[in-house]
């Protein structure tokens, strides 16, 4: 599991690759810390290469979403697979995020 953060103008893009399971959640949480403090940015969670997500991963997404809203930033989830979309559906995350 790797997490890469790129900056593109006002955008902060987090690229997730691999399986975001319970074990991977701890380093991933560390990796996305810059996103939690970003104010007035457009945060893009790129899931093109994300294979799997568990509830620990969902919790990270929710933390980013909550902190971004608190700092006036906007969160967009990009390119989720059918499997991950199913998990988003089961948990109601589908209506919490703007999904591209």
């Amino acid at each position: 599991m790797t997490t890469t953060i790129q900056e593109n103008g006002n955008q902060l893009i987090a690229l997730f690759a691999g399986r975001l399971d319970t074990a991977a959640a701890i380093p991933t949480m560390e990796a996305v810390k810059p996103l939690l403090e970003a104010a007035n940015r457009e945060i893009i969670l790129d899931c093109t290469q994300l294979e799997y997500i568990s509830s620990s991963g969902l919790r990270i997404f929710l933390s980013i979403r909550k902190d971004a809203a608190a700092h006036g930033s906007k969160v967009i989830v990009r390119n989720i697979s059918a499997d991950i979309r199913q998990v988003f559906m089961m948990t109601g995350f589908i209506s919490l995020f703007e999904i591209q």
Binding site: R19, D21, T22, A23, I26, Y52, S54, S55, S56, L58, R59, L62, S63, R65, K66, A69, D83, Q86, V87, M90, T91, G92, L96
Partner: protein, 705 residues
């Protein structure tokens, strides 16, 4: 709609009232009119009769007087003729006449001009009665000569006619200023000398006073009038002036001798005064009668309206009861089979509501591989029973959501119900929690009829019905069912169903029927058995009861625990078993994914099953061994139909099914970070089941393939 109808009814009713009133008024008024006209006619007829008879009487009376006076005047004329030689003889004659005939008031003889040269041109002697003197009664005759230039009788009508008419003749009334000194009518008769020449006129007066006295009984009514007129129409007795607009009845009679016309004049209003008074009285009575009628009708209309209102209220109450009944029935699970996907469970239930709303209830639901079930009967009927029933059912639902011990559930329901039991109603209730994997059944009987297991009464401690004694500790019981066992639950509506001769259906009949039904069953895996069992019982009850009215709700519920895998009679599939042991370290999680991969689960389910398993195992790793190392055993048992995971550990008691679930409908700001894991497990798995056994936590997850 209904209200509109009743308004129409009221209108029709008040219309009918109006017509009755109108007809009554018309009939009364018509009766009054007919009576009035008839009476008026009778009064008039009577008045005519009376007037005519009075007129005849008056005529006779007057005739009697006038003929006496006519005779008197002839007598006077003869005396006058005899005494023509001496002028004083005439005076004597008049005096003699008065002395002889009491009923003559005054008499006189008037001579032609200068008959006695010594006496001058005018010579008329007369005698009249003096009735009083100096205010005292006085009877005397006053005789004197009254002819003079001032009293020039020669030109008067009576004198000229008296000379020329050779018979007793009544003159027109005139004012006798000299003789009687009053209005008089006089009867004259000529006096002839020896040569047959008329030389004087004898005269007898009839005073109008006398005449009026004679005719006084012409006054037939107190305020009626009469008149007497001479032949030429001069009034002798003058009636008062008629009032314009007043109507008069007039009756006339002519007196043959004198040619006078006597009339009776009756003002109609006088004639009909009594009738009018009576008519007025009758009209007032009639109006009072009508008013009373109106009052009575208004009262009765009010009564009818009240009756209609009462009826409407009753209808509404019946409707309310129906609604209560429908709500009540809607609470009971009525879809059978309730779990079409469960191959190990056959269930069927029925409620036959009595005419009145009763208080029977049953409810069941499945949670985590356990069947939660209750059946009960609220004492009493009607809306209160329905309310208590609804309350019991909702308490059962809410309290059993976090509790699996039926005695605890019963104790809690009892405490809640006793606290607010103002209606003093109680509920007999049987509670059971049945483990659909192991057959273990925990049950508690709160005063309800003991269920029947395979044709035998289940041993029950009766405890107390719910709602009687707050704080009562209910005792639980346990039994283990075998696959193929059938449980039959019922309310006393079954055992106490009455036929027309008041015999009860009874427990014996019920047990015997259940036994014979059981004996008839050949296929132990027949899922229709529950429904058929209930229907057999229903038919038996209907046949027994006949036409007797059902007095109480009748509720039955049958539960059959079937062999799981082999429901359709096919070959038993041999399960494939795998297992993995992990340390309580979340870094082990990726290994779990690999292990799941090796189970060859269909691709479509692979990710979600992996997710559910990861969430369940993570929970155990995080919470079962706080601060220490431990192991987690994960076993998989796979058949073509399903895959069953058993996650077990030897940590502290931890039931993940009791953890609060995340509310996934909340907005991001309100969403809790935790609770998602167990939610995902429930979402993904078909069955989740926890038990603590031999100091181990055992969590079972089942997914159909």
């Amino acid at each position: 709609m209904r209200r509109q109808n009743s308004e129409e009814k009221t209108t029709i009713r008040s219309k009918a009232g109006f017509w009755i009133l109108l007809v009554a008024a018309v009939v009364l008024e018509a009766t009054n009119c007919i009576l009035y006209l008839y009476t008026r006619h009778t009064i008039r007829e009577e008045a005519v009769q009376r007037a005519q008879s009075e007129l005849r009487a008056a005529e006779l009376e007057i005739n009697a007087v006038t003929s006496q006076l006519e005779a008197a005047v002839q007598m006077l004329a003869r005396m006058g003729e005899d005494g023509l030689g001496d002028p004083e003889e005439a005076a004597k004659a008049t005096r003699t006449l008065l002395e002889t005939l009491d009923n003559v008031e005054s008499a006189g003889i008037a001579f032609t001009a200068g008959y006695y040269p010594k006496k001058g041109k005018w010579y008329e002697v007369c005698s009249s009665r003096v009735k009083e003197k100096d205010g005292l009664p006085y009877d005397s005759i006053y005789t004197r000569q009254i002819g003079s230039a001032a009293h020039d009788y020669l030109a008067s009508e009576w004198f000229s006619n008296g000379l020329s008419i050779d018979s007793a003749w009544w003159c027109e009334p005139y004012n006798d200023d000299a003789g009687a000194q009053a209005m008089v009518v006089s009867c004259s008769y000529p006096i002839r000398d020896k040569e047959g020449r008329v030389v004087a006129v004898a005269l007898v007066d009839l005073s109008l006073e006398k005449l009026m006295h004679l005719s006084q009984y012409l006054q037939v009514y107190q305020e009626s009038y009469y008149s007497i007129a001479s032949a030429t129409g001069v009034n002798i007795v003058t009636p008062p002036d008629t009032v314009p607009g007043r109507r008069y009845l007039q009756f006339d009679e002519e007196i043959d001798a004198t040619g006078w016309r006597i009339s009776i004049i009756i003002p109609e209003d006088i004639l009909y005064a009594d009738l009018k008074r009576a008519g007025l009285f009758i009209t007032i009575l009639m109006l009072i009668g009508l008013a009373v009628l109106v009052f009575i009708m208004f009262r009765s209309a009010n009564d009818i309206r009240r009756l209609v209102t009462v009826n409407t209220q009753k209808e509404r109450m019946i409707r309310d009861l129906e609604i209560a009944r429908n709500i009540q029935m809607a609470m009971l699970p009525k879809t059978f089979p309730p779990y079409p996907n469960r191959r190990d469970l056959a269930m069927y239930g029925v409620v036959l509501p009595a005419k009145e709303v009763g208080g029977d209830l049953y409810d069941f639901y499945e949670r985590d591989g356990k069947l939660f079930l209750c059946i009960g009967d609220v004492s009493g009927k009607g809306v209160p029973a329905a309310l208590v029933m609804a309350m019991t059912r909702s308490l059962f639902r809410s309290l059993s959501a976090h509790e699996q011990d039926t005695a605890v559930i019963a104790t809690q329901i009892n405490d809640a119900m006793s606290e607010s039991n103002e209606l003093n109603m109680f509920v007999t209730l049987f509670l059971a929690v049945m483990d659909l994997r192991t057959g273990e059944m925990n049950y508690c009987n709160a005063g309800h009829n003991a269920p029947v297991l395979n044709g035998e009464f289940l041993p029950t401690i009766p405890n107390l019905p719910i709602g009687i004694l707050s704080g009562f500790a209910y005792t639980p019981q346990n039994t283990t069912l075998q696959r193929g066992d059938m449980l039959f639950f019922y309310t006393d509506g079954l055992t106490e169903a009455e036929n027309e001769s008041k015999t009860l259906f009874g427990e014996e009949r019920m047990i015997n029927l259940l036994r014979s039904f059981r004996a008839e069953q050949t296929d132990p895996n027949d899922a229709t058995v529950a429904q058929r069992g209930i229907e057999t019982m229903l038919n038996a009850v209907h046949a027994f009861v006949g036409k007797a009215e059902q007095s109480d709700d009748l509720t039955m519920l049958a539960v059959k625990w079937l062999p799981e895998e082999d429901r359709h009679g096919g070959k038993l599939d041999k399960p494939v078993r795998h297992s993995i042991v992990m340390r309580n370290d979340i870094q082990q999680i990726p290994t779990l994914a690999e292990w799941v991969e090796s189970l060859h689960i269909p691709d479509a389910l692979n990710m979600t099953i992996n997710l559910a398993l990861e969430e369940a195992v993570t929970n155990v790793m995080l919470y079962a061994y706080p601060g220490e190392n431990g192991k987690v055993l994960i076993e998989a048992e796979k058949t073509p139909q399903r895959i069953t995971f058993t996650i077990s550990d030897s940590g502290i008691p931890f039931d993940p099914t009791q953890r609060p679930e995340a509310d996934i409908t909340l907005p991001a700001e309100d969403r809790a970070i935790g609770g998602l894991g167990i939610h995902l497990v429930r979402q993904i798995m078909d069955d989740i089941h926890y038990e603590r056994k031999d100091n181990r936590n055992i969590l079972t997850l089942v997914k159909k393939l």
